[in-house]
Amino acid sequence: MSLPHELLDEIFSYLPPNDKKSLRACSLVARGWVSPARRRLFSSVVITEDNYQSWKDTISPTDIELLNHVRSLRYFTALRTPGWVSLPINEFLIYLPSFHHLQHLSLCSMRIKSDISQQLGVFSSFRHTLSSLTFHAVTLTWFAFIAIVDYFPDMRDLMVSHPIWEIHHRQPIPLSRPLRGKLSINMHKCRGLPIFSDRLPGLKVECDELFILGGLDPGPPTSHYQRVVDSCGKSLQRLRLGSCACTFQYIRDHAGR
């Protein structure tokens, strides 16, 4: 006798969120338990340089059944100095078409080329499901940034953390639709802040929630933050101003995504 998936989901929901070991054990109990266990095991995937090789060896880019379970994907390399190694973005790109239900994508410590606008098709499988996007320590041009943000019509949560803007002589383009929902920035003592704050007013920003991490710390001229706040001003309903010392809160809020 096999239990309905709804019941198994309910039972598995009592396991601690990070208890991967128990979920793996559950997936071996019976054939009917595989799918519900996998759904939880793969709902949030973090790929780092430590697990990238095992990920590549064990999971096929065409394993749609498995990759369909992924709702949150974080792909990053921990910042290391000197000479930290970046994960190969091109190898990773072949996985993207199989993430059909991705809701949150976090890209960290990578370089995105300015011709990304011609390759946006790699995101097409989750174009209409993605609602949350994070750039952390990503090197890219403003043009590429706008192209990616604009590609996802239902995005409600954008996080930009320590961007490294590359010079690009192309005229900045506006977003085709207003940026809505939540905007979070973490650019304390970041050289990318002036460019971001200068260009943000040129976009259609109608965010109702703004989180400025480091916005209360001494360091950067507050005029940059003031421009960011004023850009959202008319629609802004909720504002969070944090000091870097209180990043615990930010980390916890984003940990489950």
């Binding site: 209360l216 706040v229 008319k234 504002l239 969070r240 010392a245 209180c246």
Partner: protein, 222 residues
């Protein structure tokens, strides 16, 4: 550094959250600059015990009062809420909150939220937090000179009159422990299910601003 951040151009702002351990001029300027008539809550999320220091909160008391006065002059109709959030592991209930934003409590509402447990404490106008800690372990609450309404009602002290909701919440929490009994000396007595202690409270004295002084003047019988 330049001029501090201001929120003059945020007319729809409902909630401001400040994630910082020590409030200074910058934060005071930010709060004072609010002009939104939709403002409901200013929340503070420190990760240390800094809130135990009166030096930390006293300036904020004045600034929050000034903000409410300014907004009232502009037509502000809401009750502003100041919310302190903390983690239970870092919270010491012995601190008490007797002197905690006392001026502001007569103009708005102060809430303390335990993020771990989800517990929410509403501070009355002059509510002693230490009293609340004791109240949680009471078996009986005896009230001297009981006001007109019954203790079990939503507004236990007075019927039909606007009261400080925070106080009501605290008292109703205690009242919910058991049915009202009337002891021989005329006070109302609320037995609880665990047995042991009896508390005697003086009824709150209404203030000119519609709030009440509450448990600070209470007598306690162990």
């Amino acid at each position: 550094m330049g001029n501090p951040l201001t929120l003059k151009r945020c007319p729809e702002l409902c909630r401001l959250e400040i994630l910082k351990n020590f409030l200074g001029e910058t934060e005071h300027t930010v709060i004072s600059s609010i002009t939104s008539l939709n403002l409901h809550t200013i929340a503070f999320l420190p990760d240390t015990h800094c809130y135990s220091s009166p030096h930390y909160w006293n300036p904020l008391d004045n600034i929050a009062c000034g903000l409410v006065n300014k907004l009232r002059a502009l037509g502000y109709k809401h009750t502003l809420e100041l919310e302190l959030q903390f983690e239970s592991a870092k919270f010491d209930p012995k601190l008490g909150f007797r002197g905690f934003l006392t001026e502001f409590r007569e103009r708005g509402r102060v809430r303390i939220l335990n993020r771990s447990s989800g517990e929410l404490f509403n501070l009355a106008v002059r509510f002693s937090f230490a009293a609340y800690i004791v109240l949680r372990f009471l078996t009986h609450v005896v009230v001297k000179r009981v006001a007109r309404s019954s203790l079990g009602s939503a507004h236990p002290w007075r019927d039909g009159e606007p009261r400080d909701l925070c106080m009501t919440t605290e008292i109703s929490h205690v009242c919910s422990l058991g049915p009202v009994q009337r002891p021989s000396h005329g006070a109302d007595c609320i037995p609880t299910h665990t047995g042991g202690m009896v508390a005697v409270l003086q009824p709150p004295v209404p203030t000119a601003l519609g709030g009440c002084t509450s448990m600070d003047g209470g007598n306690w019988e162990g």
